[in-house]
Amino acid sequence: MNLLLVEDDLELGNGVRIALANQGMDVVWVRRLDDAIRTLDSGAFDMVLLDLGLPDGDGIELLLRLRRERQILPVLVLSARDALNDRLRSLDDGADDYLVKPFALAELLSRVRALARRSYGFDDETIRMRGLVLHEPTRGVLVDGQQVELSRCEFDLLALLLRRTGRVVTRRVMEEQVLPGGPGIGSNSLEVHISNLRRKIGQGYIRTVRGIGYVVDAQSLARAGSPRA
């Protein structure tokens, strides 16, 4: 994968370049806006990692220029500005993702990969997770190699949870995105679906966070030492 890294800070730029190169990516690193424009014109890139505060202008200018030229080149903004407005503005202006500095290297790598998957249709159809295999196009689910039959709702819930492995999915999001008819006050249909799902795939996968939502942990419950099974 060919990446253009636009970052004016010497240490950060160099560090990111080396870290990404260690992961087998080809990185071209420039430190100025006009260098970035010239480099983009001369070579083919799969993605741009863009810092916003550059010595010769705002990174947003490059973003707007790309979008004006109808380029669908994915852009991941790296910025120290964490205010909601800054993030929303960048996304409105056509950024594909936004990462606030300082970030963990693992998060940068996973966002770069996710963005590449989203943009180029790389393997995003099969999710594997601790013995669970979920194949979205055929809506098939395997538990420890065994085919499991799920209802439409149950499949969507599981897919939602697996796509966000390790992060809690709030009840509201689940109700809005999966349940027919959206969220109902005082209704326990979400609990019913989850309990059916647990009965079919086994108890060890979905953890309840009371009042908040559900999560599929990347590590099994026993290893994480959770107070409740």
Partner: protein
């Protein structure tokens, strides 16, 4: 009833420009009236009307000359004439203070005078009006001389002050004023009110705008008196707007300057750690990363604090539901809690709409819950509750940690204060941020002892947004 009366008195006592203007107009009218009356007095003092009619003198002289040979008839005729004179010029009573004096001499001898109470009045020269003193009083007098039988006729009018006192006493001065002033007040009040209309428009526009509205006034009065006022209001608004903008860009700059080196340090150490296989080195690098985390957290909190201090005049409060916001934040933070072996639990019943600035509320919730997780022992539960109670939105965060002694519960809201004997790492800013956000939103925060006498219970109360104002909110990004 009494309160209403007090309010009325308050309104009456309170200074009013309107009343000043009306009173000023009334004062001018009264002053003008006094001036006119004074001029009339002065004129009649300087040149009394009666004394200017030479025909009267000539008539009196003619009577005295024609009846010179019959003193009895002469006197009677003069007396009759004098009575007529007094009735015209005064109240007809010769003893009255205001009545004029007629004195006639013939052949050097006084042949008639109005009253014996007043001695003879002599002018220094004929045919001039002058002030003379006689009988202890002041007179304006004029004498005409006829060569026939050496006849002299003198008419005198009383001096000015007696006249003033007399006329005032009779109400010639005050009565017209008292009668006409009420008729002048109402039109004056109406015209002043009409003329002050642009002024009222300016004051209405300034009072009706919200605290966050810093745009210039839309009404541009063409009047010379109002223009400077509106201009200085607009200049002031502009200055506040500029300083807010400056403050915000300062925050953004500080964020950038502080975070970029932290990010560089982190990325380099992580890349190094990925290459290293020496477990001793990896442990040292892990320490570096943890210090980096703490510095990052501190920078984040400082920025939150600056932002929350700057927020009230910068961002328009929006209607959002506190329950959804808390659920989102708890879902985000759950990873940290889970890694520490702490369980999060949220209880909320129905919508809890509040008016607020989203980012400030997010940092408030984050800091409260972060604190609770930090001080919780493993395998304990942090319970969060969102509810509406008596017109307020209430957020409760309870942990099962060591709690805070009652004596320190106020001080922990101070910036950089950390309770003594604290073993957890922290900046001492978390609760200061909570306090600042709560204050900006017009709410209150209190720390209490948790249920069963252990742990800490933080209670935040915010004003509830009016129902119907809350709109479906955007899903917050991570």
């Amino acid at each position: 009833m009494i309160r209403g009366a007090l309010r009325f008195i308050g309104r009456v006592i309170q200074p009013s420009l309107m009343r000043r203007l009306v009173l000023a107009q009334m004062a001018v009218v009264a002053a003008l009236w006094t001036l006119i009356v004074g001029l009339l007095f002065y004129d009649s003092y300087k040149d009394p009307e009666l004394l200017r009619f030479s025909k009267i003198y000539e008539s009196v002289a003619a009577i005295a000359i024609n009846l010179a040979d019959d003193p009895k008839r002469q006197y009677d005729t003069l007396h009759a004439f004098d009575l007529a004179l007094m009735e015209t010029a005064s109240d007809g009573n010769a003893e009255s203070d205001t009545s004029p004096m007629l004195q006639v001499w013939q052949r050097g001898k006084l042949i008639y005078r109005t009253t014996d109470a007043v001695p003879e009045i002599f002018n220094s020269a004929p045919d001039i009006i002058e002030t003379v003193h006689a009988g202890g009083r002041e007179w304006r007098a004029r004498t005409l001389h006829s060569p026939q039988f050496d006849t002299r006729v003198m008419i005198a009018e009383p001096g000015i002050w007696r006249l003033v006192v007399n006329i005032t006493y009779r109400g010639y001065y005050l009565l017209p004023l008292l009668v006409s002033l009420p008729f002048l007040v109402v039109p004056a009040w109406l015209t002043v009110r009409l003329a002050l209309r642009p002024w009222r428009r300016v004051s209405r526009e300034t009072s009706e705008r919200g605290p966050a509205d810093l745009t210039p006034l839309s009404y541009r009065p063409p009047h010379r008196e109002l223009q400077p006022l509106v201009q200085s209001i607009n200049t002031l608004l502009q200055r506040v707007r500029d300083s807010t903008t400056r403050e915000r860009s300062l925050i953004a700059d500080a964020a950038h300057e502080l975070r970029t080196p932290l990010a560089a340090m982190r990325v380099n150490v992580e890349a190094l750690k990925a290459q290293s296989i020496d477990s001793g080195q990896r442990e040292l690098m892990g320490n570096l990363l943890r210090s980096n985390d703490r510095a990052t957290r501190l920078v984040g909190q400082l920025l939150q604090l600056m932002r929350s201090d700057a927020v009230s005049d910068a961002a328009l409060p929006v209607a959002l539901s506190l329950d959804a916001l808390v659920q989102d934040r708890l879902a985000m933070i759950e990873g940290v809690a889970h890694a520490r072996g702490v369980e999060l639990e949220l209880a909320c019943a129905g919508e809890v709409p509040v008016l607020g600035e989203r980012e400030s509320l997010v940092s408030m919730v984050d800091n409260l819950v972060d604190n609770a997780i930090k001080y919780s022992p493993r395998r304990s539960v942090v319970k969060v509750q969102v509810a509406r109670e008596q017109g307020e939105a209430v957020l409760r965060v309870a942990d099962q940690g060591p709690g805070i002694p009652p004596g320190l519960r106020e001080r922990v809201f101070d910036r950089f204060f950390r309770s003594p004997g604290q073993t957890q790492s922290g900046s001492g800013l978390g609760l200061a941020i909570v306090k600042s956000v709560v204050d900006k939103h017009g709410g209150s925060v209190a720390l209490e002892t948790g249920a069963g006498g252990r742990g800490l219970l933080a209670v935040v109360r915010l004003p509830l947004a009016v129902d119907g104002q809350d709109q479906p909110m955007l899903e917050g990004r991570g």
